[in-house]
Structure formats: structure tokens, C-alpha cells
Amino acid sequence: MLNSKYINFLFLLLITYRKKHISIFIISVIIVALVTSILFISSAIQKDINTTLQSQADFTIQRYKAGKVLNTPQSWIDEFLQIDGISKVQGRIYGMHFYEPAETYFMIVGIDFFDDNVVKTLQTLIDNIDIDKFLSRDNMIIGSGVKKFLDEYAYKDYYNFRPPDRSIKKVYIYGTLPKQSNIVSSDMIIMDIDLARKILGVEDGYVTDIIIEVPNPKEAPMIRTKLTISHFDMRIIEKEDIKRYYKNLFNYKGGVFLILYTIVLVTFLLILYQRYSMISNIDSKEIAILRSVGWKINSIIWLKISENFIVAFSAYLVGVITAYIYVFILNAPLLKEIFLGHNNLSQDITFSQQINTTDLGIVFLLFVIPFIIAIIIPVWHKSIIEPTEVMR
């Protein structure tokens, strides 16, 4: 059946009756582009989360009393070091800084620059960071969201913090964190731990929280139990909890979109089915002509399958390419806002290219196959009727 005459005739019909297909093609492209964009964004976000949170500590300990988070005594660090299986315990200083000009909050994170691991992690984010130079004066590394706000108010080189002791602390901008880590670092300011303590007003002998590293994941549940019973006024956050939090947040948003997509797709297919069920006089006449000159039912169905497969597959390809351009080149305007929201600062994220072939396969199966079925059933119905019935 698939000879050159058949293929010529197929393309002749497609070109001649292109107006008939154009509206369906456009709607199909929009649907495919929308769902593929959602999948591209979800995959890119998950990849970014995994990359960014990879260096997160296994456990984070916070002092928690009467429903409020309090500063944690530094003395706990030595206690936790006594627990077998823990390789590293470190205090952290962090907190929110209210940036009055824009009425928004930045997160200050104080880190220990004498800790090799911390420096290594930082070096993966910022190339050629010179620690000695960084510590030679009060410096900070800022997220791109923070930079945007500081730039707006001409804080190009430094910013004056106002610690609770009513002094003014001038801190220089050393560098900016890469956009790839924006999903968690857009509103972040990284500085030396002692500087952060001073700006945030955390008294000596206390830290904001304590991070713990456990090299053997199998020991983690047992260590968690030991930590839990060591103090009753504390909360333990696991690395997986943080990852899960972000994943759930974005999966939930993606899920809402996928449900909307499913509703749109089903509606579209119903319209398609109805359209072909109420097959136009021209379509009926064509089928009748083909039958009357000796075309077999399966030849006619194959012709219609081929015709609509070309329309659906072209729409699928164009839709996927459109989604690629929209997400990875145009950076998903609008959808990005909906997905990432404005928790604190606007999330100025550049999505990392992450194309999952399984996702593309699922879109293909959930779009092209139902598309063909929605058309073929009514066409088959018309084809099995005696040609004279259709000709009347």
C-alpha cells in the first residue's frame, strides 16, 4: 500500500486541503508546547534542586521552644561530636535582613571560611574565589536576586548593614552566585560567620543552627534517634526533608498543570471526535468516491491515519521545539512566575537544559495516539457504510 503513488496522493490531499487541518494543527501545537514546557520546567527544576542541595548537610539541628526557633548553644556541638558515626559538626549563623528600600528580606548565611569543605563547595559555585582576599576585609557573596535589588539603589560595590547595636557595618560585594543556583540562593548573602554574627546580633556562645554530617547513610536513622533523645527542645531537619520539600512544592504545581492539560486534551479530543463524527459532506463524499472506485476500507482508513498522523506528528514536533525555545531560550516567561512564585525575591532563574526522553515519549503517546483514535473511529464508521448511503 505504501507505494510512491499512495504517498504522492497523501501529500497532494494534505497540501490541497491544508485549510482543513490548519486550525487543528495550531491548537495541537499549543497543547503539546504547553505540556512539554511544564515537563521541561519540572525536569530542569529537579535537576537544579539536586545539584544545589547536593552539598547540604545530612542533619540540621535547631533549638525549638514553644513553637519558636531560638539560637542554639554552641556547647551542643561538642556533645554531638561524641556520637559515633558523625564525621562533622558545625555551627551556622544565618538570619533574615530587612532591606528597607525595597521592603524585602535577604537571607544572610555566615560560613566558616577555615572549613575546607565549605570553601570547596563555594569554589564549585564561584570560580577563582581567593579566600585570603575575601577575608582581608568585610566581604560578601550575594545571590542574583539580591544583586538586582542592590543595583537598583546604587549599591554597586558595598552595602551598609545596621546591626542591632546601632553601629553601621560596611560590607563589600565580592561576587555574585550563579543563576543556576538561584532556585535556593536568589535571596542569599554569604559572608564570614563572625561578620554574620555581628550583623544579625547573635550573642557569643550561640549559633543559629548546627549542621551534622554522617558519612554512612545506613547509620543515619540510629544517629537521628541518638540526637532526638539528647535534647528535647530541638528540631532535626534531614537533607532529604529539604529536597522533598522543594520537590513536593514544584511537583504540586506541575501536577496542577498536568491536570489542567489533561482536561484540555480530553476536551480537544472530544471536539475532534465530534467533528469527525459529524463528518462534513466533503469528507463523506471523498470516502464514498474512494469506495466506489474500488478502494478497500483498510486503504481508506490507512489514508486517513497517515493524513492525520502527519498533522499530529508535525504538531508534536513543532510543539516540542516551541517548548524548548520557550523554556530554555526565552526562560519560560509567565509559566516561570507561576511555577516558582515570589516567596521572597523574584526567582530570576535560568533553567538548565534537561530533556527527558521518557517525558517526550509520554507526551507523544498521550497526544498522537488518542488524536489518531479520535479520528479513525468516525472515519471507519463512514467507510463501512455502503457508498450509496454516503452519496445520497
Binding site: 500500500m1 510512491s4 503513488k5 499512495y6 496522493f9 497532494l12 490541497t16 486541503y17 466533503i282 463524499k285 471523498e286 464514498a288 468516491i289 474512494l290 469506495r291 466506489s292 472506485v293 474500488g294 478502494w295 478497500k296 476500507i297 486503504s299 455502503e386 457508498p387 450509496t388 452519496m391
Partner: protein, 222 residues
């Protein structure tokens, strides 16, 4: 040779009413014969042609073409039969309006094993007989009624079928085009095609090339 025996066709309008379009038709037509079926609208002429052309099944009876009862053939075989042995000329211009004359004529050949060159030869030959070669690349929707009719004739002839069925072929044609159509019928007769023409056009009365003229009334042959 076509042999029709005890042919009945009944259309059920609902569970209680039915309409007998054909009643006990018995008829034989020799190869190369030209039969004129005369009758008013609704007399059953088109139904009889549709059954002979295997685009409709009778309620009972048989239609033997060269010894084979086409009534009992499967859809696969009736499609083959229509494609190889039958040429249909209808009163309405059943054509793909947006396609060219040549493309329309090629439709029966697409599903055959002919090569592209052979196909072109067949199309040229059919267009020549139907006198439509000069409109080969023109879209059907731009043709006049007479030209559309000639396009349908060329399509009916392109597979070189033995039997040509014409259902009210001049119903939508003016006098001049009707005369041109009769000239083509004469050519087909010379080519020894079996012709069955259902009509109520007086132009076909006493047609010199007609071997038989039968009247059909209320589904029965007179």
C-alpha cells in the same frame, strides 16, 4: 456476461414499514451489449445499477458477472471487483473538487500495482477517449458541468473496466454536452464495453448503438 436472477431490494423505513425498490428482477446482458434502462425517478434504476456495481447489497437474489455471484463476495473482493471490472458514471459530479482533472482520474489506479509510467499512459488514454486531455491540470472546481462529466467518464474508464454503468449521465448537462456524451458512448460501444445506462432522457430513445431498451416501473422490469 451479466446474469441477474430473482433480485429484490427492500428498504426498511422503520420496523413496520418497508419500501420495495426492486421486485423480482431477472435479466441477462451479454458482453459488449448496450442496455438502456428507462424509467421515471424513483422507479429503481439507480438501485439496480448500484447493485450491479457492487456498491449496494440486494435483499435477495443474485448478480453473476462472468460466472461469479458478486452478491456473496466479501468487502475485500467487491472492492477489487469495483476497481477492475466496473466504471461508474454518476449524475452528480462526484469528484475531488480541489484536485486537478488528472489527479481525480488517477484515484482508481493508486491502489493498483501499476508503475507511475504505466499509470500516466492509462490516464492519458482515458482522457483522450473522454476528450478532456486539454483540461488535464485544471482544478475540477473550475470546470463546466460538461467537462466535469467527461472527467468522471475518464475516471470510469481509466482502469479499462469491462462494464460501464451510467446513472442519469445527462441529467445535469445541456443539450450540446448531452450529444457529446452520446458520442463518447458510441466510442465505448465500438470498444466492446458492456454499457448499462439508466436514464429518462428522451435523447436515448432509439439510440442507434443501444442493443436493448428496458422500462423499469415501481421496481419491476416491463
Amino acid at each position: 456476461m451479466i446474469i441477474i436472477k430473482n433480485l429484490y431490494k427492500e428498504f426498511s423505513q422503520d420496523t413496520t414499514q418497508s419500501f420495495h425498490a426492486l421486485k423480482d428482477i431477472n435479466l441477462s446482458i451479454n458482453d459488449g451489449e448496450c442496455l438502456i434502462l428507462n424509467g421515471v425517478s424513483g422507479s429503481g434504476k439507480s438501485t439496480l445499477l448500484s447493485i450491479i456495481g457492487a456498491i449496494m447489497k440486494p435483499t435477495s437474489g443474485s448478480v453473476e458477472i462472468d460466472g461469479e455471484n458478486i452478491v456473496s463476495l466479501s468487502d475485500f473482493h467487491t472492492s477489487n471487483y469495483r476497481n477492475t471490472k466496473i466504471g461508474f458514471v454518476t449524475q452528480s459530479f462526484h469528484l475531488f473538487d480541489e484536485l486537478s482533472v488528472k489527479d481525480n482520474i488517477s484515484i482508481p489506479l493508486i491502489i493498483t500495482d501499476l508503475s507511475n509510467d504505466e499509470m500516466d499512459e492509462y490516464i492519458k488514454h482515458a482522457m483522450k477517449i473522454a476528450n478532456i486531455s486539454h483540461k488535464s491540470n485544471q482544478k475540477v472546481k473550475t470546470l463546466s458541468g460538461g467537462e466535469k462529466q467527461r472527467c468522471i467518464i475518464a475516471r470510469a474508464l481509466v482502469n479499462d473496466p469491462q462494464i460501464i454503468l451510467c446513472d442519469e449521465p445527462t441529467a445535469n448537462l445541456d443539450y450540446t454536452n448531452s450529444i457529446k456524451f452520446i458520442d463518447i458512448i458510441k466510442k465505448l460501444k465500438e470498444m466492446k464495453k458492456t454499457l448499462i445506462i439508466a436514464t429518462h432522457d428522451p435523447l436515448f430513445n432509439n439510440l442507434a448503438c443501444a442493443d436493448k431498451t428496458l422500462n423499469i416501473k415501481e421496481g419491476s422490469l416491463e
